[in-house]
Amino acid sequence: MQAEAFFFWVFAIVLIVSALAVISARNPVHSVLFLILAFVNAAGLFLLMGAEFLGMILIVVYVGAVAVLFLFVVMLLDVDFAELKQGFVRYLPIGALIAIFVGGELGYVAFSWIGSPSPSAAATPSGTLSNTAAIGRVLYTHYFYFFQAAGMILLTAMIGAIVLTLRHKVGVRRQNIADQVARDPKTAIELRKVPSRVGI
């Protein structure tokens, strides 16, 4: 129990510090790296609550795939800080508005959370079932339609991204793998008798 408390404080403090560093770091790549650190620590908190499946999925999906693409984009961007700071005052009101809304929602969640059962009891509803199986049972029975709807939305987004970026250029020479594999020496090689001092 002491070890759990110790790790809780370690994860929580590193999480908050790295979340602050995300918005205060000058180099955007450092920001993304801090964001990844925050994700990993959040996964650590999930593990402490006994929700090991959620923790691992957080790492696989967000850290292993989504944040890689973030990092990718940010690394290749040429960010001009002077230009970014110019817009600060103009965007301040709308930014503040969003901050107030999000802050209010978070506060609401925090206040309604107090008094709910302890997280480790909530994470594993019945003692015998591993929580991976427990999530599966709930997700594929009660929330089946929501789950399917989420899948359809993601599929739509994926197709949308493909449609938006697909360009059919004319005059591009593409490789046809099937044709290439089907080649054999009979059609690919031509043997010619070359007369001396004449050439082809």
Binding site: Q2, A3, N27, V29, H30, L33, I36, E52, F53, M56, I57, I59, V60, V63, G64, A65, V68, L69, L71, F72, M75, L76, S130, T132, Q175, I177
Partner: protein, 388 residues
Amino acid sequence: MSSASPSHSDRISRPLLIAGVAAAIVGLVVVVALIAFFVDGGPAALGAWLYANPFGIFVRYLLESLALLVMVLIFTAILIYAERKIWGSIHLRRGPNVVGPWGTLQPFADFLKFILKEPIIPAGANKGVFLLAPLVSVTLAFAAWAVIPVGDGLAIGNINVGILYLFAVSSLGVYGVIMAGWASNSKYALLSALRVAAQMVSYEVSIGFVIVTVLLCAGSLNLTDIVHAQQSRYGFLGWYWLPLLPMFVIFFISALAETNRPPFDLAEAESELVAGYMVEYSASLFLLQFLTELVAILSMSAMTTIFFLGGWLSPLPFAPFTWIPGVLWFLAKMWCVVFMFSFVKAFVPRYRYDQLMRLGWKVFLPISLFMVVAVAGVLEATGWGAHH
């Protein structure tokens, strides 16, 4: 090196001295451990302390991790030597044969060379990230071994989501590469990092689906349970390599891509990118990158062994074969897969990048998606799955 003339002797004595000091330290640790073992009330009391006392449990995990670390490091040394001998013999060369008997000390000579040279940090590099990158890579590579069961119950962490943990750790491996490539402030390194990132993310998709079919068959995310699920009276015919043969092939090829091994070593294609993301790394920093690759190969082989080759199970499930300890079977299978990794490198030409992407997205992804549906359907229709 071994036939050095007297004038070179002072140059060789320094590595020897360091090796001697290291050996002395290891010896000292062993002696202290033995004394602690026998003085403090004998093995029984020590055993109780290691399993009951919170601090004892911590010490036990520490010792287990240390033992595993040493084992994996020795394996990497063997791997360096074995690979170079295998490539040598395929190329009709001799391979390393100078340092030590039959060249067996070559990896240690390499190791000393890396340690004793000067690490150079490029002037334009982002120093913090540059130094952090190899540490991230090597830590993640070793972290995968924490859940790998080398025998029945012989895993440091026998966690319920072991398979997800392995998948998560191997997908994090890409960060070491991206950070190294970006922080080096070199165009070769950056291009290589981009290649690796796209390559690893692409092949993770098919690896993920392969893992899904395996866990559908085993009915568990726990690695020990997955091996147990492969136990049957048919011996090696009951392991998953046969019923899931296409997935076994896809997993092996994807593992080659995931560890950046030939024919998918586009990250360090010498003719295009010099040494890729490692181009600015030298000495001990390069050693860490190099170690990462080798450990990743070993852990991918261990994963192949657990998922498809029955882990520590004996191939023939009757008397004389079942007497052999499971750890030896596990290691034998793992080294067979490692041998296949080396074998492929020696005679397969490198892929072109668009062909690599085509293979991942247009060949492996549809096949593995179809197999997930097919395997789930067969299990549901026949009731062969582990439990319902």
